[in-house]
């Protein structure tokens, strides 16, 4: 039984595409056939983060308009045979998407993939609604700041009202909270909302906390999903998140301010 998972947030720049890329790569590395779709038509980014921007020939809109087949448009990942990317169009806009045509493409993908990850554009307009419409589950990405949490709250309301599951009265979309750009130091200083505050405000299940780190930027720029950087905290946090998504019981890491090591305590930082 295939699953459609939307990665959404309301607010822009919180880490949706980074999370989509790492989540999809993580599912694929555990042997699940996974495709990740870039719904940000006109501002495509996912191909960059996945390092396949030079291999884009046909895109999602070409498939929607039946100018290319899915097989032609899907790009296989360089290192993982289980992972495919359906890139967005850079030249079109979101009006190219219609509900029934998107439904047709997703229906086709369901036949050959275990997981279909939909990377949503920011906002609450058509593009974002398209990305969430067919979802079975949702990763809601939030930064520990009040405006991001408010926007996530709004998008959670949309998931509960405007998705196919909501309209048809099926079991509601399963919602998971991903807190990204989390910095224990800044939480301690009161500059960022704490995990408790965020959970109290949003009231959904926390599936992952991704610490703020430089590796994320480096990984994005070099076109490798950060989950593949095994030494980075962010990569490890994404690994944990994927494991939790697949039902494993993994404790949260990187939540506390790191204690200084023996030497730095003696010699000063």
């Amino acid at each position: 039984m295939s699953k459609v998972i939307v990665v959404t947030s309301g607010k822009g720049g919180v880490g949706k595409t980074t999370t989509s890329a790492s989540f999809a790569a993580g599912l694929a590395s555990r042997g699940h056939r996974t495709v990740v779709i870039d719904f940000d038509i006109g501002l495509r980014n996912l191909d960059l983060v996945m390092g396949c921007e030079r291999r884009v020939v046909y895109d999602f809109v070409n498939v929607i308009n039946e100018e290319a087949s899915l097989k032609q448009a899907l790009i296989r990942d360089k290192v993982d045979n289980n992972l495919y990317i359906l890139p967005a169009s850079q030249t079109r806009d979101k009006d190219a998407l219609t509900q029934d045509k998107v439904g047709k493409v997703i229906g086709e993908l369901r036949e050959s993939f275990d997981y279909i990850v939909c990377d949503s554009p920011a906002g609450i307009e058509k593009g974002a609604l398209m990305a969430l419409f067919y979802a079975d589950e949702a990763l809601v990405v939030t930064n520990p700041e009040i405006s991001s949490v408010r926007d996530s709250d709004r998008i959670l309301g949309m998931l509960a009202a405007k998705s196919l599951r909501a309209i048809e009265g099926d079991e509601p979309i399963k919602e998971h909270l991903v807190v990204s750009r989390y910095s224990p130091e800044r939480v301690q200083m009161g500059e960022m909302l704490s995990l408790d505050d965020i959970q109290e405000l949003l009231g959904i299940n926390l599936i992952g906390v991704i610490p703020e780190s430089e590796e994320v930027l480096q990984a994005s720029n070099s076109g490798v999903p950060v989950i593949r950087d095994e030494r980075s905290k962010s990569g490890q946090a994404y690994q944990d998140m994927v494991a939790r998504f697949l039902g494993e019981d993994v404790p949260m890491r990187f939540l506390e301010v790191e204690k200084k090591g023996f030497f730095s305590r003696i010699f000063g930082a």
């Binding site: 509900q99 029934d100 439904g103 609450i124 408010r150 926007d151 709250d153 709004r154 959670l156 309301g157 949309m158 509960a160 009202a161 405007k162 196919l164 309209i167 048809e168 405000l201 009231g203």
Partner: protein, 248 residues
């Protein structure tokens, strides 16, 4: 809004063969009872009602009830009244309790003549009855919401109380003709007693509203609530047109 969404999705699944389909459906429509035929007075009063900051009736279909003005029907310019209502963004669909003369004028003004609903005799009895009795009869249905009310969502309990078994988040609106109970945190906007019920109250497990209103008397909470009430169960009620927040 919801209807619209459903229709969009419906069209995905059904290929229609005929261009139209006629169906009978039951709607609940707001009724505007006229107690006067003075158009200026009607317009003024409606503006006052609409200015209370509640937008439920904007773009609402409306039925005009002529029972109370039956005798002065000849003085009433229905076409002009419909024009006034339209300017106020209310869409008149028809009239009810119209005598034969008024019915003819209604049809000429492009309004439907509705039958059924409350009969003339009942309407006369009701209009002479005490208003509190009428609200007592109406206040029955309670709406219970089990999930959090999120930013951008609006929930209205028509004709009764609204009970939220979760939190009302910032940017959300909860509205009731009766009381509002929130068994979580109330952080959004709450409008109780919108059907002119000054006795309605707002209760919350943790009272931190952005705005609270009872029967159109509202207060914004620009400053955080007093620390003695912060995060504590509290209620809001109306006392001499002033909102009072008190611990429970």
């Amino acid at each position: 809004m919801k209807e619209q969404e459903t229709a969009d999705v419906g069209s995905l699944h059904h290929q229609r063969t005929s261009a139209v389909e006629l169906k009978g459906t039951v709607f609940t429509l707001p009724v505007l009872k006229l107690h006067s035929t003075d158009l200026d007075a009607i317009e003024h009063e409606l503006k006052v009602h609409l200015a209370r900051g509640l937008n439920f009736f904007r773009h609402a279909p409306l039925v005009i009830d002529l029972a109370a003005v039956e005798k002065q029907a000849a003085e009433l310019d229905l076409a002009a009244l419909a024009g006034i209502l339209r300017r106020l963004q209310l869409f008149t669909v028809g009239v009810r309790n119209a005598g034969p003369w008024a019915a003819e004028r209604a049809v000429a003004a492009g309004l439907a003549v509705l039958k059924g609903g409350v009969t003339k005799e009942e309407a006369k009895e009701k209009s002479s009855a005490e208003p509190p009795v009428a609200t007592e009869v109406l206040r029955r249905r309670t709406r219970i919401i089990h999930h959090p009310v999120r930013s951008g969502q609006q929930i209205y309990a028509k004709g009764g109380d609204l009970i939220i078994l979760s939190s009302v988040n910032v940017g959300a609106e909860v509205i009731a003709d009766g009381n509002i109970h929130v068994y979580g945190s109330l952080r959004g906007r709450a409008f109780a007693g919108v059907a002119e019920d000054t006795g309605a109250r707002i209760f919350a497990q943790s009272m931190e509203p952005e705005l609270a209103a009872i029967a159109g008397n509202y207060q914004v909470f620009d400053e955080p609530v007093p620390s003695s009430l912060q995060g504590k169960p509290a209620q809001i009620y109306l006392e001499e047109e002033q909102l009072v927040m008190a611990p429970l």
